[in-house]
């Protein structure tokens, strides 16, 4: 479903990813763990098509197609969702307007009709309720004045409404209280289907207790240096990254 080969990425003159390989099949959940600054968010941004990240070598294919030739919004329409480590505030644009515009823009790119206002409202209210986001927060400006945890919940509401086939969730668990972590995990599990894939970037094993990964990768120095099953996460929790420095 997602096939990354020998990926080299730089920002300006700095090389961050140095030959990364990753293969995710439909229905799988993968987790990436690794020390700060190794390039986990860089990988996520590159998959999403951030213009500042330059791919100097290697390839990314999604559902058999070359992803690197497509722009960000086209990748989103193709079903790729990036849950931001730091969700962005957009003063003056309401959550509802933002989400409805995003959904319909994706549908148009895919050649589908717009979703009606009534249908959209029904959907978004349902998903917000599932994820414990208060309905009045939908009317507020995107992430403006939201607490750290509320921003992450909001990301999950967006994911649930947009219903992607590949979700790349960059530290969606950080900043969440214990109850919120459970709610968000339920949201992620709801997105787990035979035809979807999920890539979790996290520092903590706790999330992986709720969302059980099929594969855990350790990333260091801009590469994946070890892969294993979920026991690898427990091992890391225990011993840290010293062995991969």
């Amino acid at each position: 479903m997602l096939e990354i080969k020998n990926l080299h990425v730089s920002i300006g003159d700095t090389q961050i990813l140095k030959g990364l390989n990753l293969h995710i099949r439909p229905g799988e959940v993968h987790a990436i763990m690794g020390p700060n600054g190794t390039g986990k968010s860089t990988l996520a941004s590159t998959i999403a098509g951030h213009p500042n990240y330059e791919v100097t070598e290697g390839s990314i294919h999604y559902q058999g197609e070359d992803l690197l030739t497509r722009e960000s919004h086209e990748r989103a329409a193709a079903g790729i969702f990036l849950g931001f480590q730091y969700p962005v505030e957009i003063p003056g644009v309401s959550n509802l307007n933002f989400l409805r515009t995003a959904l319909n823009s994706q549908r148009r790119i895919r050649g589908e009709d717009d979703m009606s206002a009534a249908e959209f409202m029904k959907l978004v209210r349902l998903k917000a309720d599932d994820l414990g986001l208060k309905p009045e927060m939908l009317k507020r400006f995107v992430n403006v004045g939201f607490s750290g945890g509320e921003k992450k919940r909001n990301e999950m509401v967006q994911m649930a409404v947009l219903n992607p086939t590949l979700a790349v969730l960059d530290e969606t668990d950080s900043g969440l209280d214990i109850d919120a972590l459970r709610v968000v995990s339920d949201g992620i599990n709801a997105q787990r289907r035979d035809d979807t894939a999920i890539l979790l970037i996290t520092h903590y094993q706790r999330l992986l207790d709720y969302v059980q990964p099929d594969v855990v990768h350790v990333m260091a120095g801009g590469r994946i240096v070890k892969s294993g099953d979920k026991t690898l996460a427990a091992e890391l929790e225990d011993k840290g990254y010293a062995a991969y420095g």
Binding site: G49, H73, A77, V88, I90, G92, A102, Q158
Partner: protein, 405 residues
Amino acid sequence: MDNYFDTVINDQIASLPSDPARVGALTALKKLGFPTKRDENWRYMDLSGVKQAAPYLARNTVITPELSSSDAEGINAIFINGYGFDINKNALKDVALASSTNIHSEDNAFALASQALGHDGVCLKITKDTELKGPMHLHHQCKDAGECAIHLRHQITLNKGASLTLVEHFSGDEDAYWDNQLMQITLEDGATLKHVRLIVEGANATHTSKCAIRLADNSTYEGFTLICGGKAVRSTSHIQMLGTGAHADIDGLSLAYSGQMADSFVQVEHLVPGATSDQIHRNVLAGRGKAAFQGRIIVARDAQKTNADQSCKSLLLDRSAEVNTKPELEIFADDVKCSHGATVGELDEKALYYMLARGIDPVTAKALLVEAFASGAFARVEAESVRSAISESLQNWLNAETKYG
């Protein structure tokens, strides 16, 4: 231009119905002359269109106005090339015609030109405690006028406790006309005027307009001016706070892309104690578009307890756009609260990318961000129909900007 003040203007005035206000204005205008770039108040304005068009007065040709059905709803007056076409008298039954003799003297050359050479536009009084339902719309349209000057003078008085929502629409075709209008407004005690002006002139047009507003005790003026069309547009607002407890909001949004320039000049004079004013202005510039905002706040020596605020923010969509902002505070009282602030910024790259990552195409994403920024300027406009007219003009401007930049 040289012979304009010597001979042309005399001929022009001779062709108009005589009235004493013209004579006084003409004398003052001849003495003052038209402004030039050397005048501090006019340094940003492109006056070339005025020079070209001034010698030719618009003629009265019978033209049927073109209005879409949504425009026609609630229409009260249409002026084509400065000539009144239709005033919906039914809607104005609570209104009396004002006399044009109590016209206030003006110190701005183009306002004087409107007084000397203009036809009477709307001259009305809203009688005591009358609350007109629904907005009153004035449409000013220029059509097949050629290169000529259109002068109009309007006077509106709201008697004690009266209230009105007035929406003015300025539009025109591709001709290089000069639309020059003066609106004098008097708000008596406790009167409320909501005044929205949508200046969407034709691509080659020059527009100069002045709104002079006098506020008595406890009266309220809520003004909003949108400039989003015309080769060179200058909007002057002159607000005189003459009564305690009076309040004025003077908000504006200027949009300009290559070939457009929007110049806003707001002067608020606090002449008595205990009045408040607030200005929120936004500029959005694209391509080689130009905008200027000069906001002058004058607080007279005994105008204690004045509260006067001003905020001007500009968004540059391209590095080649130009904006000049110039706050001027002249405060002679000591117990006052005055503030002003000006910022210039670009589109928030992070917000833009966040939108793209959610599947919003780049054109829509940019439009959403521009709208979000611009809407700060008309947050105080309440009437839904008026808000959507503003949004529509904004959207049209954005579409044109994407096409012609």
